[in-house]
Amino acid sequence: MDFGPHLMLAMLEGAVTAAILALTAMGLSVVFGVMRVVNVAHGEFYMLGAVIAWFVASTLGTHPAVGFVAALVIAPLLVGALAALIDITVLQRIGYDPERTIVATIGLLYILQQGTLMTFGPDARPVAPPFNTRLALPFVEWGENGLALYWPWGLSITSYKLFVTAAAAVILIALWLFMTRTRAGLIMRATQQDSAMARAFGIPVAKVYALVFGLGAALAAMGAVLVVPIQQAHYLMGGDPLLLSFIVVIIGGLGSLPGTVIAALLIGMSDGVISVFFSPTLAKILATLAVAMVLVFRPQGLLGKKPQ
């Protein structure tokens, strides 16, 4: 394949990564934005979403589309409920102290991950995509008669991957409408502004926090359900999404929702593109160091405004 088609393929794959990443990182960002805590177990909620999707799909065992749709509803609900329960039993009791929350969620990370190892086992398990047509894509070249379309071998994408990008966009728009247009969203944003004031106005802050923590986990689970027909479910699959979500949330400015989406696109696309041309390990080293430097020298994020 020539450079052009190669790059286009990388960008298409990158768009899929970006879509999933935007969902997952959005979950982390919503939680940080409203509750001001960092959830290190976020990647495990993602992993649980994928594992539950496998359970649902393999239990129903009918047409892949039925199992998939069922998983898309059930997995986020279950994971969200589990997260809300964790919020009430653990995080609320340590008063959301930022450092202790991180230590506790590190503990939860291992509990969820190792608990899955004990029940689900160490194998990676696939979920069949609901549909999966391969679509060959054209590219342009400068031929004898000027610009002409041609179909380079290997330049294709599946209908399912296109669906993933669209579905992620729809979910994010729905989230945005929820946060800006509904009473529940308004209450969440009021709590984010000033939790003491919100409490004074009779907002049940404890309930809002449990709900937000559940919502954040549910978003990660949705991302995982979408990804599992491409990637397979595995008990260690939460590590990379966690790291990438951190990167996205930091670059986008901690807690900024539009910043998170833009950063997810940026990182997701460049992740796909970089890994085509560089050693993935080297790319990860450089990306990790670059993000650490952003936190060190520009803690408000690349896209955030400097507080004054």
């Binding site: 960092v38 653990v90 009791r93 340590i94 930022p98 450092e99 202790r100 991180i102 230590v103 506790a104 590190i106 503990g107 939860l108 990370l109 291992y110 509990i111 969820l112 991950q113 190792q114 608990g115 190892l117 004990m118 160490p122 790291l243 951190f246 930091i250 050693s279 390990t281 080297l282 990860k284 080293i285 990790t288 160091l289 993000v291 650490a292 430097m293 936190l295 060190v296 020298f297 803690p299």
Partner: protein
């Protein structure tokens, strides 16, 4: 002689006697635990005394481990010069990490240190032709000796670990009672107030982190030298979590907490690994229970309730 020093000497004497009393299996474990306790003591200096909650100390542990093992393996250095390389390597890595990461605080500091350590782990994987990545490499028994003492023998290994442990314990015991150590505690308690008393908080935090990283690095080097193995898994995230776990369990800001925490966790994981492969589950459960019910750890609670002079 003051009580804390006396207590430290008693602990050291008890550990020395333990070698002759305990069955081989347990004295072997104890050698490993002492090295891990040194790692945790280094960590405690940053977290327990100075209030720097790092999630990236595996970077320093690995810097020491690879500093020693790579220089022995590829440059054919003997143990003492290789230990020197490990010392310099971990001090250097801690110095650079500190200079950058200490520009942040709190949660950002935790994430920055985590990311530096992750970059370190990936670097170890990237140079796979030297490090053999996750699989790691073995240091031959022939080179694992200092002044004719075979460090791969049960006794040589145990007493080498004990010497390292004792020296570290006595140094830290003296340090935290000295003005410098008291100032670190003051920084942990109230950074703004320490600044407004004229202390250069930034510089002292950096010094504390360098000392902490260097001690952790020496533990890493000793681990490679005594157990004859170096691998990238020692640079991975769980090895940044372990010292945190030991220190939290034993009691942050207590001199003996790291040892107590390391003993408990080691045997807890050892016992559970007989039952299940998912031994990290235990670590997770302990972390959550500690944050919920025993934030001061075992010795911290002991000191608060009953033994106020506990160092």
């Amino acid at each position: 002689m003051n009580r804390p020093l006396a207590l430290h000497l008693v602990v050291i004497a008890a550990l020395a006697a333990a070698f002759f009393v305990l069955p081989d299996y347990h004295s072997g474990n104890l050698a490993r635990i002492m090295v891990l306790a040194v790692y945790a003591m280094g960590y405690n200096l940053a977290f327990g005394y100075t209030g720097l909650l790092s999630l990236g100390h595996a970077l320093f542990f690995a810097a020491g481990m690879y500093g020693l093992a790579l220089s022995m393996q590829h440059l054919s250095l003997t143990a003492i010069p290789a230990l020197m390389v490990a010392l310099i390597a971990s001090a250097l890595v801690a110095g650079i990490t500190g200079a950058l990461a200490l520009r942040t605080r709190g949660v950002a500091f935790m994430i920055v240190t985590l990311m530096f350590a992750q970059a370190g782990y990936l670097t170890a994987l990237y140079f796979v032709q030297y490090t053999r990545g996750d699989e790691g490499f073995v240091l031959p028994q022939a080179v694992r000796q200092i002044a004719g003492v075979d460090l791969s023998s049960a006794m040589g290994r145990y007493f080498a670990a004990l010497i390292l442990f004792s020296v570290t314990l006595l140094i830290i015991g003296a340090l935290v009672r000295a003005p410098f150590g008291r100032t670190l505690i003051a920084i942990r308690e109230n950074e703004a107030r320490a600044t407004m008393l004229g202390y250069d908080v930034q510089r002292r935090k950096w010094l504390a982190l360098v000392a902490s990283g260097t001690i952790s690095g020496m533990a890493g080097a000793a681990y490679a030298l005594l157990f004859g193995y170096a691998g990238a898994s020692f640079a991975a995230v769980p090895y940044s979590i372990f010292p945190l776990l030991y220190v939290l369990l034993g009691g942050a800001g207590t001199t003996l907490g790291p040892l107590v925490g390391a003993v408990f966790m080691f045997y807890l994981i050892d016992l559970s690994s007989g039952v299940t492969d998912a031994y990290m589950l235990v670590a997770g459960v302990v972390l959550v229970l500690l944050t919920l019910f025993l934030p001061q750890g075992l010795l911290g609670t002991l000191r608060k309730r009953w033994v106020p002079w506990l160092p």
